[in-house]
Amino acid sequence: MDKKYRFSHKHILGLEDLSSADIDFILNTADSFKEISSRPIKKVPTLRGKTVIHLFFEPSTRTRLSFEIAAKRMSADTFNIAASTSSAQKGETLVDTARNLTAMNPDIIVIRHSSSGSPRLLANHIKASVINAGDGAHEHPSQGLLDLMTVKEQKGRISGLKIAIIGDIAHSRVAHSDIIGFSKMGAEVRVSGPATMLPPGIDKLGARVCRTREEAVEDADVVMALRIQKERQTDPLFPTLREYAACFGISKKVLKSAGPDAMVMHPGPINRGVEMDPDVADGRRSVILEQVTNGVAIRMALLYLIMGQDGNE
């Protein structure tokens, strides 16, 4: 690492704000933290005395748990707030929530919210650091970073790899962070899915649009399927899950044209038999559970880095 380099971000709002040097530094830091989670005593004192609040306006199991485990393994004090999304319903605006939280002096707020840009709104009104744990259809930076970490771990590099992302690109914050992250690190990103789920200008984020799943998967080093959100069925994006599975599901047959060592990823939770066949999800190419493991390491690294690496260790 370049000696002059210094990680200088106060907030983690999206991969768009990070340089490739930043991403490299985060991945290396996460790598060094990963070992902690395999110790018998999984705890280091790095963030002792720091307060981390998990402010989740959308239901989440794994992301919230992963952040919480990461913070606890770093010895931070953690608090969870599960709030209703609608400010009208809740009777308090996000800005007021921010002001109230500031009055209690937390160090880090981890926020998930259905409105794109809400982590930035929070960051504009709070003294603490803000980590975006997923905002609307915008970004999910820690997921993007754990995906990068998983690929780098398996392949030894990211640059020059062919990454195929299949599914609902338009509504997926994971896809957005992955496209930005992988293309920033020098990979070739291809996307495919129903044309109704390929948003305008996705190429400007760094992705090549492929008409078919087969075209995207050909010779790919990484094949990632995105979760189909069944609750989106009110908007007629595709006729049936049956037809979706037939055209865009990842099966063993589809993977035949991928590279010989192609790895299979999914941000979870999986709709088995829709975007991915069970034997692929559980097969030898799948790194889905490694993604989950690396998620904790990435989040430990982010908590550490935005505290300015000045934990009281």
């Binding site: 840009g117 930035r120 915008h138 957005h176 948003p199 305008p200 200008g201």
Partner: protein
């Protein structure tokens, strides 16, 4: 409030397209009426008349904004008839037409009369626009005869566009009895639903649901086709896209009874103003692409677009200091419209005369109201403009009750320095 004054506006540049005037002259206002344009050379200073030197300034027919939201009754915390007309006068407007989406909706004489009653103590003329449908719900026609007798000058379900084509057709036909113009906010709601900004690469990057430009265009086509079919005029509100301009242009070539307006933000800003989720750049229709901005300017220049309006839409921090997708649509505009339009004059897009057509002559003609010229005998509604005055539009100087403007802290050039309504000076700086 000032009394009616007899005054001589001396040595200004009189710009009065209706009478073919653009020359140095004096304007005499007596008893609230335009008495005479006194051309250079004739030194007339009648007795009992105050002389006001307006050298270097433009003297024009009072500006008319045919699309504003005054929020009264119902949302007086955002704006009132009084504060809104004060902002209008500060921006050089002698008259405004206010949209019916108040609470309750202006769909009956009670609401119309309340607005007009408040307007008597206001700072500009107020022309209420009534609702097309009862409660603007789009299911039942409002009572146009009652509304007309109460004083509405046009009909619109602005902000709640009429989805049912048969209802719009019947509204066009039925409004003929009272000779009322329909103003359409053209938006196909099934295409724009839940949208927060223009649909584009930027909306994808920001993860915001897009409003495609076609949502505006398909509805404009429906609206003008129905106008043509029924032979009844329709005025298309706040157009924002290239294809919208093109549709209006072709309709006019075919002689269809259509007119159209746009706003200063559609020729002054692009969607890039959304930046990092700046809710001051959120409005409906949304800010569009640079290509659309070029087309809007072309449409203003070639006469396709008849009027510049503000769509002045005051909101408080309650509606704007929230998540972008939950923020209210709309920005204020009365105090910045003239300055932003003068920038088009400096850029050579518009001549001063053309600007006055867009901001006074045509709005008066389309609505069928007084004003739009300095013809002797007309009410003395006059705006004096200093085209060179430089200023910064600062939050603390805002006259409107609300400050939801993307133009705060902009450096501007040119503004109204005096606004005269019926011979009374309503605003001067």
């Amino acid at each position: 409030m000032s009394k009616t004054k007899n005054m001589l506006l001396k040595n200004g540049r009189i710009i009065d397209p209706v009478n073919g005037l653009d020359e140095q002259a004096d304007l005499l206002l007596v008893d609230g009426i335009i008495k005479e344009v006194i051309t250079a050379g004739r030194n007339a200073s009648p007795a009992g008349v105050e002389t006001i030197d307006v050298s270097g300034k433009w003297v024009v027919p009072g500006l008319i904004d045919m699309h504003v939201h005054l929020r009264e009754p119902g949302e007086e915390y955002k704006e009132t008839v009084s504060s809104g007309t004060r902002a209008a006068a500060a921006g050089g407007f002698t008259a405004v037409a206010c949209m019916p989406n108040t609470i309750p909706v202006n769909d009956c004489q009670a609401v119309t009369c309340l607005i007009l009653d408040k307007a008597r103590k206001g700072f500009a003329r107020v022309y209420p626009v009534g609702a097309i449908s009862k409660n603007s719900r789009g299911t039942q026609l409002a009572e146009y005869d009652e509304l007309k007798r109460a004083g509405v000058v046009a009909l619109s379900d602005d902000g709640m566009p009429v989805a049912d084509s048969q209802l719009l057709r019947r509204a066009l036909e039925y409004s003929a009895n009272n000779d009322l113009l329909l103003i359409s906010h053209s938006e196909e709601l099934s295409l724009s639903k839940n949208g927060a900004m223009n649909e584009s690469a930027l909306s994808t990057r920001l993860g915001l649901r897009g409003i495609p430009h076609v949502a505006e265009e398909v509805m404009i086509y429906r609206d003008i086709a129905l106008a043509h079919y029924t032979g009844r005029p329709i005025h298309i509100a706040h157009i924002s896209t290239r294809e919208s301009v093109s549709l209006i242009r072709r309709a006019k070539e075919k002689g269809w009874p259509v007119s159209a307006e746009t706003t200063p933000h559609y020729f002054s800003l692009t969607e890039e103003a959304v930046g990092q989720y700046d809710t001051m750049a959120k409005m409906n229709p949304p800010l569009r692409s640079p290509d659309d901005v070029r087309a809007i300017k072309d449409g203003l220049q070639d006469g396709t677009i008849d009027a510049i309006v503000t769509d002045h839409a005051p909101h408080s921090s309650l509606e704007k200091d929230v998540e972008f997708d939950q923020a209210a649509n709309g920005i204020t505009g009365l105090e910045t419209s003239l300055s932003l339009t003068l920038a088009l004059v400096r850029d050579g897009v518009l001549t001063p005369g053309k600007m006055i057509e867009l901001m006074s002559v045509n709005p008066a003609r389309i609505l069928g109201v007084t004003g739009g010229s300095l013809t002797p005998g007309n009410p003395a509604d006059v705006t004096v403009i200093d085209p060179d005055m430089e200023f910064v539009y600062r939050r603390e100087d805002i006259v409107s009750k609300s400050a939801n403007s993307p133009f705060i802290d902009w450096k501007m050039q040119g503004r109204a320095v005096m606004t005269i309504v019926g011979g009374r000076i309503m605003f001067a700086r």
